[in-house]
């Protein structure tokens, strides 16, 4: 089945949380939604699990026995052990006995949590807790796996474990939709969508996003137009939407971070003009 949002708009009072968003999550691949706090990432994910109602547009997604969802926040019960958390959720999906034991062992191994099976979830480090919560979301091998910022605040090593779990789920055929604030994770996804203030700034594969980017990004010590420049490490990058930087400028190949910032600046400039 197609798993997608079509022209979805969601309002919370006067706030437009999602503004005419269309996105598809093909089985067997990872789709990453990136954007800052308040961009609409959680609303987009919650639309797929039908926790928010669309004001306009439509959603096509499997029913609740067929999806796994890791919400923002802890995602597990602090007062239960790692094993109890998994067994409880497994039980909800009808996993019992040897099948549950085998799936539990497999997930704990992939997450590097085998030695922590009897520890209380509340005593785990932040990275371990997020990995446990991801295991819980995928215990029933859902057709659609939805993960809301599984890696925020998680160290690079645990992020690699998380990524391994996510890509294994995709390799086994699941449609995976995850949100992240880490742009390097989005680069790894088969398809990425950049959200800003409820709108999709750009989406496609990383190659498509790069190919579709118009204008020029230059590297400079002294930006010509401060409002179009930003810091990257020790240098500044500056965006020229009409690809008309002054002669002699150093033009560089923008990466995803440059592209996201440049598009955000365009969006903000547009917002000011039209208001």
């Amino acid at each position: 089945m197609t798993i997608a949002l079509q022209s979805a708009t969601v309002r919370f009072g006067a706030v437009v949380a999602l503004d005419d968003v269309t996105i598809e999550v093909p089985p067997g691949s990872v789709v990453a939604v990136v954007g800052g706090d308040g961009a609409g990432k959680s609303t987009l994910l919650r639309a797929f699990v039908r926790e928010v109602t669309l004001d306009r547009g439509s959603v096509q997604a499997p029913d609740k026995r067929q999806f796994g969802y890791l919400p923002a926040g802890p995602g597990c019960w602090a007062a239960l052990s790692v094993r109890q958390n998994l067994d409880f959720v497994g039980g909800i999906y009808g996993l019992t006995g040897a099948a549950l034991a085998a799936r539990r062992a497999e997930l704990l191994d992939r997450a590097g949590l085998s030695d922590a099976a009897d520890r209380l979830a509340g005593q785990l480090s932040g990275g371990m807790r997020r990995k446990l919560a991801a295991c819980m979301a995928m215990i029933h091998r859902p057709a659609l796996l939805i993960l809301d910022e599984p890696s925020t605040g998680v160290d690079p090593v645990s992020r690699i474990d998380l990524w391994r779990m996510v890509s294994e789920a995709a390799a086994a055929g699941a449609a995976v939709l995850m949100s992240t604030t880490y742009l390097d994770e989005a680069e790894r996804a088969a398809h990425l969508a950049v959200l800003d203030a409820g709108r999709v700034l750009v989406q496609g594969s990383y190659d498509e996003v790069r190919a579709g980017f118009v204008g020029a990004v230059t590297r400079t010590e002294r930006p010509v137009r401060a409002e179009w420049a930003w810091r990257r490490g020790r240098e500044r990058h500056e965006y020229w939407p009409d690809a008309d930087p002054p002669a002699g400028s150093t033009i560089l190949e923008p990466d995803l971070e440059d592209i996201v910032i440049a598009l955000s600046l365009v969006r903000r400039a547009g917002t000011v003009v039209s208001s």
Binding site: G36, E149, V157, R159, G233, E257
Partner: protein
């Protein structure tokens, strides 16, 4: 020699049988930005809390601004903990005013992007805005040392860039900044890096110093899913980078035969290892697969 703003000499902290920080020595000088890296649970926050006098050391000594981290010296410090340290049931303006008065300073002017939230309760604001407010509170009394625990976690790319502008401006006027981060891109913005693993300082210096002897190979193939699955099964330290696969510290011939055995056509290319790969190897050294 100039006196260090922050200094630890052989600092250890134990909680029962557990050694959270193990004989760590480090220092922070005026005008430098030092990045403190390490996995969750490596001891970063425990070390910071000892440096600031919020937690006693089990062994070793710490110095803040040349002496013990007492109340007087802490007045010259700005600290943004992971929890931000704001009062959720006060407005942004009230938090700033309270914070500034506690240090005997004038409340700072609100920058335009924060002014619209001046009278909103902090608990009702998005995390990104809360972070900006916490930062402003920490800077209000023009501290000489700034300690930031994961200042940009969950913040968008543009806000991150502008926060680093502020960090750099502070360093340029002589403030020493100690910052923890899980963004390896941000690690590159630091003047110097410290890498903690299991409470011990395992590497320090530039990014190249941190990566040390770790090597990596990129695996280019049309069928990333099969290649990834095959390498995973073989137990090699594999990482995905886009549709390319990277493997840390593994012999190329071994990789080639593993891939060939799985019937996968791939091209291998030696690449520069990253800090993430060093951290992965450290973690695997502790818990072999």
């Amino acid at each position: 020699m100039t006196e260090a703003l922050l200094r630890a000499d052989g600092v250890t902290r134990r909680f029962g049988d557990f050694t959270a920080v193990d004989a760590v020595s480090m220092q922070l000088q005026r005008g430098e930005v030092v990045g403190l890296l390490g996995a969750n649970g490596a001891g970063k926050t425990t070390l910071i809390r000892m440096l600031l006098g919020l937690l006693a050391t089990t062994a070793g000594t710490v110095a803040l601004l040349g002496g013990p981290p007492d109340r007087e010296r802490r007045r010259r410090l700005g600290y943004v903990p992971q929890s931000l340290g704001l009062y959720r049931d006060l407005t942004v303006r009230e938090n700033l005013s309270f914070g500034a008065q506690a240090y005997g300073a004038r409340p700072p002017l609100l920058p335009p992007e924060l002014a619209r939230y001046a009278d909103v309760l902090v608990g009702d604001l998005s995390l990104g805005v809360q972070r900006q407010a916490a930062f402003l509170v920490a800077l209000a009394h023009t501290p000489e040392v700034l300690v930031l625990d994961e200042p940009t976690s969950g913040v968008d790319a543009l806000a991150r860039a502008s926060l680093w502008d502020t960090i750099r401006e502070e360093a340029d006027r002589g403030v020493g900044v100690l910052v923890t981060t899980h963004y390896m891109e941000e690690a590159q913005e630091c003047d110097r890096l410290l890498l903690l693993a299991d409470g011990r300082l395992v590497a320090e210096g530039s990014e190249a110093d941190i990566v040390g002897p770790t090597t990596a190979v990129a695996v280019h193939t049309d069928d990333w899913a099969s290649a990834f699955a095959a390498l995973n099964r073989a137990g090699v330290p594999v990482i995905l980078a886009g549709r390319a696969i990277r493997v840390a510290d593994t012999d190329s011939d071994e990789l080639r035969s593993t891939l060939a055995a799985a019937g996968i056509d791939a091209r291998l290319e030696p690449v520069r290892a990253t800090i993430e790969e060093r951290m992965l190897m450290l973690a695997r050294g502790r818990a072999p697969a």
